[in-house]
Each structure stands twice: as C-alpha cells, then as structure tokens.
C-alpha cells in the first residue's frame, strides 16, 4: 500500500510537470469547466433574486466542478489508441496508477488556476460559505472526486471496444450536467424528480458536496446522502474493475 501511494505521488509529480508545459491550454479548459456553473449561477440568481443559498450553492458547485474534473477520455482512451497502454502494461505497477496521477495532477492545476475565479464569483454573487458546513462537505468532495474519476474511467474504457470513446464520455458528461445539479439544483426540483436525482450517481459526483457546503442538507438526509455516495463508489469501482479485466482480455487478444 505504501508503495502504491508512493507511486501515485510520483505519478502526480511527473504528470503535473508535464501538464505545466501546456499551462495556456490548461487555463482554457479551466474556463471551459467553469462556464456551466457560472451560467447556472446567473440564471438561478436571476430566477430567485435575493436567495443567497442558491448563489452559495453555485459558487460551491464551481469549486466542486474544478476539483472533480476528469479527463480519462484524453488520458486513458488516447493511451489505448496510441499504444501507450501497451508500454504501461510492461511496467511493474497497475496501469491505473498513472491514470490517477494524471487525474490528480490536472485537478491540482484546475484548483490553482480556478481559485481566482471562485473568489471573484463568491464576492460578486455574495456567497456565504460557513466554515463548519464547508468542513462537513470536504469528505463529500473527496468521494465525489473518486466517484467522478471512476465513472469517467469506466466510460473511457470503451476505447478498448470502439474508436468513439470521446463520444461515450461526452454522453456521461451531459448526464452529469443535467442530473448532477448544474442545470438545476436538485433541492429546487419537485418530487419525484428530486428523489430520483438524489438516488442516481450524478448528484453524488457534483451537486451533493455543493449542497452540503451551501447548508441545504442536514441530519439524517446528510447521512443518507453520504451512504448513497459511498454505495455508488463501491458499485462503480467494482464495475470498473470487471470492465477493465474484460477489456484487457480483449486488448490482449487483439492488441486493440
């Protein structure tokens, strides 16, 4: 386990160094990731003027979006297409280590480049994040990050079967946008849409930590939300492990 953590740390260092070399592009993708939460903030602030909770929610959502952004269709899928996977298979470490390293490296840069944007949005929108609520949301952010990584990784594995993995991941991103709390905060939806949305994995990936930070979830509902989030993490991780094995067998059979 210690060796694994060291390898992940090493991979973050290697990948983030590499990512720094295309920092101008990084800034553009950070802006790209910020567009939908900021649009949500504008639209919902206009729809519900004076509601500080919705402003706080969208500022928190912006931060969560940047801290959970996943690009496995660019790292893993492209690696499958260009032969990097074959080289990775010859190394004495699980292939996923470098994928995780790349993911975390990108998130660090997203946060660094996105911090001024979050700060400006918070001041302009009058967001009020309570320190206690913020701390309460931290575990949810970590789990959301893991969940979104596993989800995107799972979809990116489609590259072992098709040349259109980017499209598959794009579909997943659209679902996260629609059902994860960006298009509309789930708390504002009528039943049964709200309950269904909360039971699906997308809200756990994005909207849940933002709602906790905005102070809209407390008590039993909070515990239940954490249970759903952890449950999805277990399910998707198990599914990703199975798909990886099946996909690897296919790759090993045809060279992909």
């Amino acid at each position: 386990m210690i060796r694994m953590l060291r390898l992940v740390g090493l991979s973050i260092w290697r990948q983030s160094l590499s990512q720094w070399s295309w920092r101008s592009f990084l800034i553009t993708i950070v802006i790209g990731q910020s567009v939908t939460p900021l649009l949500g903030l504008l639209v919902w602030s206009a729809a519900l003027p004076g509601d500080s909770q919705v402003s706080t929610y969208y500022v928190a959502l912006l931060a969560v979006q940047l801290m959970t952004a996943s690009y496995e269709h660019h790292t893993l899928s492209n690696g499958i297409y260009d032969g990097t996977l074959a080289r990775a298979l010859v190394q004495p470490q699980p292939v996923v280590i470098d994928v995780i390293g790349s993911n975390l490296g990108l998130r660090i840069w997203h946060l660094i480049f996105g911090l001024p944007l979050i700060a400006i949005a918070a001041v302009v929108a009058g967001a009020q994040i309570d320190v206690y609520e913020g701390m309460l949301a931290l575990p949810a952010v970590v789990i959301a990050g893991a969940l979104r990584f596993v989800f995107t990784y799972l979809l990116a594995l489609s590259a072992l079967w098709t040349e259109r993995a980017h499209g598959v991941v794009g579909l997943g991103e659209t679902l996260i946008f629609l059902l994860g709390g960006t298009a509309a905060p789930l708390g504002y939806l009528p039943e049964p849409f709200r309950s269904v949305g909360q039971a699906l994995p997308f809200w756990s990936m994005l909207g849940l930590p933002a709602e906790i930070a905005a102070g809209t979830i407390h008590g039993a509902a909070l515990s239940q939300a954490y249970a759903v989030q952890l449950g999805w993490l277990v399910v998707l991780t198990a599914l990703a492990a199975v798909i990886w094995r099946v996909g690897l067998r296919r790759f090993a059979a045809v060279g992909a």
Partner: protein
C-alpha cells in the same frame, strides 16, 4: 525447409508451438453490406503467429527477422506479457508472461525504436532514471553504480540534466536505453531499436548492447530490418514469415540456407579481350560504383560454383577471383519479396 533448433542448455525464453490468431471484421463494399454488417458481422481469421517454437539461453543476442507483418512484434508482445497467445506456451525466466507478475516485469525490458523513452518529455533524463529506480525498486547504492556504468557506456554525462523534449533522436535512444537498462533486465526485447538513427548513433547503440549483454549475460531478442545491425550483434537468427518460423540457426549459414547462388567476383587481366560472361553465369555488375571496368560479378548456382571457377581459371586471363555468398541484405530482400516456402 529444415528446422534447426537453438541451444538446449539453460533456456531463458522457451516458446513452444506458439500461436496467435485474430478475428478481424470484414465486409464487402457498398451501403447494403454496411447495413447488413450492423447485425451480422463477418470475421476473417488471421494467423499472426502459428506454431512457432524456439529457445533462447542466457547471454544470447538473437536476431528476430522477417518482413513487415511477419509476426515479430506480436511474438515480442506475447513474450513481454502485452498479448495473450491463443495457442502454445511461452515461458520467460520461468514465468508465464501473460500473468504480468511484478517479479517477471522487473526482470525484462522492452525497447521500441519508435518510442525510445516513456513518460512526460518535460522531465530530465536523470528524473526518468530516478523514476525508474522507484518503479523497479532499485536500491539507492545499486542505482548510483548502474547510473555511473550507463553514463560511461552510453556517454550520457551531457544528457543527464537535459529535458527529454530537447534531445535529438539519437540522444533519446541513448537515454531510452539507459532507462531500460537501469534495473539490469535479464531479458531485453529490442523492437527495431535503431530505426531513424544515423550511422554513428546506430553503431554506438550496437556497441552498448553488445557491452551490456557481455557484462550481464542478459538475453537479447532483436528485431531489425538493418542487416548490418544483425550481422554486428547476432550470431544466431530466427527468421519468421507469415507467422511461421522459417529458419533458426547460425547467421553465417543463413545466406547458404536461403540463397541457392554464389557470387563470383572476377577481375580480368586484359580488358581488351571480350569475354562471353553469359556462358559462365548471370552477370550482376550493372552498378559501375561496385565494380572496376575490368571486373564482373557472376551469379552462379551454388553447386556449379567449383566447376565454373575452374572453367574461368582455365579459359579467361584472370587477375583475381573471389567466391562469396550474396550479401545478407540481398538475400533477405529476395526472401521478403518471394518467400522461401
């Protein structure tokens, strides 16, 4: 085609009746066929490797030759654990490669000329070596010794602190080789390692491989289309074509094995006297750069060579006469174009 087996003692790599079959989707042209293929796909069976058997022992440098698409890279990928064979068995250092056990992977290295060095190109060569040390659990003291040796062997001193992105192709290959050898692999798979290198860089690379193999008794399996490289490094070659093994044996005997011809280089003492060369053999010296005006190269059947030589010596004023096998490059070219089956 006779089959010569490799040495039996102390095998490091053992391949037995290895097979790799793909099923590639096929369809006829046209919109109708495209629609039909949506629900009823047809596949073509492609035998990338079929019934290939050989053994490699410790310290051997073996050339693995064949035309493009012959199955060389597929075999190497099977031996390094990337591909799973559909038939037969492969053992490397006693491990089954497809299991990709860390203990196995830590003892091999695969170096491809098309991608000599992995990872972010922003890192320096020394960064890559440090990363390799941690990845392969090379003890710090051993690491320093190995880096010193590799620096000396590959003339790396001036490259260590440079970013990979700033290296030329030859420098990248040297750096890539250093990274690949850092953990002292016992088996080295080299897939067209000198592709694109200039003559000097390629020669330096060959020297390094020969030095490494002699120092560590590592087994090296080398694929290359450069016959000079194979001649410089390998005493044994394995020839594969259309997935099937065609020859496994001594490099020196390969030309004899593949080509039914000998080349007689004849230098005449008197160029004013016309000679009917066609009556002795097939004249080859169309290239004036290869021959002087009083020289001719005759291509004759191997079994006829002694008789033709005697006739030439008796009938033509000869200043010099040499009998040789055709260049390996030419033999391989003929083999690739025509096959030997």
């Amino acid at each position: 085609m006779p089959f010569e087996t490799g040495p039996d003692s102390d095998p490091v790599v053992v391949i037995s009746e290895l097979g790799m079959t793909y099923h590639a989707p096929v369809r006829t042209a046209g919109l109708k066929a495209a629609f039909r293929a949506l629900w009823r796909r047809e596949y073509q069976r492609i035998e990338a490797v079929a019934d290939v058997s050989f053994r490699l022992t410790a310290g051997e440098i073996v050339g693995f030759l064949g035309p493009n698409g012959a199955g060389k890279t597929t075999t190497m990928k099977i031996l390094s654990g990337i591909l799973h064979p559909t038939g037969g068995e492969a053992l490397v250092l006693g491990y089954t490669p497809k299991r990709r056990q860390p203990a196995f992977l830590k003892q091999i290295a695969l170096l491809r000329g098309s991608q000599p060095i992995d990872g972010p190109i922003e890192l320096t060569v020394l960064d890559n070596l440090h990363y390799r040390r941690l990845l392969y659990d090379v003890p710090q003291r051993q690491f320093q010794t190995n880096v010193d040796e590799l620096t000396d062997m590959l003339d790396l001193e001036s490259l260590l602190l440079r970013q990979v992105r700033a290296l030329s192709l030859g420098e990248r290959m040297r750096a890539g080789l250093a990274v690949a050898l850092l953990h002292r692999p016992r088996v080295l798979f080299l897939d067209e390692p000198t592709i694109g290198l200039d003559a000097s860089a390629a020669m330096a690379f060959r020297r390094s491989i020969a030095t490494y193999a002699s120092r560590t008794a590592a087994t090296v399996l080398l694929t290359s289309h450069y016959m000079t490289e194979v001649e410089a490094l390998c005493s044994r070659v394995i020839l594969i074509d259309k997935g099937r093994l065609r020859y496994d044996g001594n490099l020196a005997a390969l030309a004899t094995h593949l080509s039914p011809y000998k080349l007689l280089r004849v230098t005449t003492a008197d160029i004013s006297e016309p000679v009917a060369w066609d009556s002795y053999g097939e004249p080859e010296n169309s290239d004036p750069n290869q021959c002087a005006p009083n020289q001719v190269i005759l291509r004759v059947h191997r079994q006829d060579a002694p008789r033709i030589t005697s006739r030439l010596l008796a009938e033509v004023p000869i200043a010099d006469l040499t009998v040789a096998d055709p260049p390996l490059e030419t033999v391989m070219d003929e083999f690739y174009r025509a096959g030997v089956a």
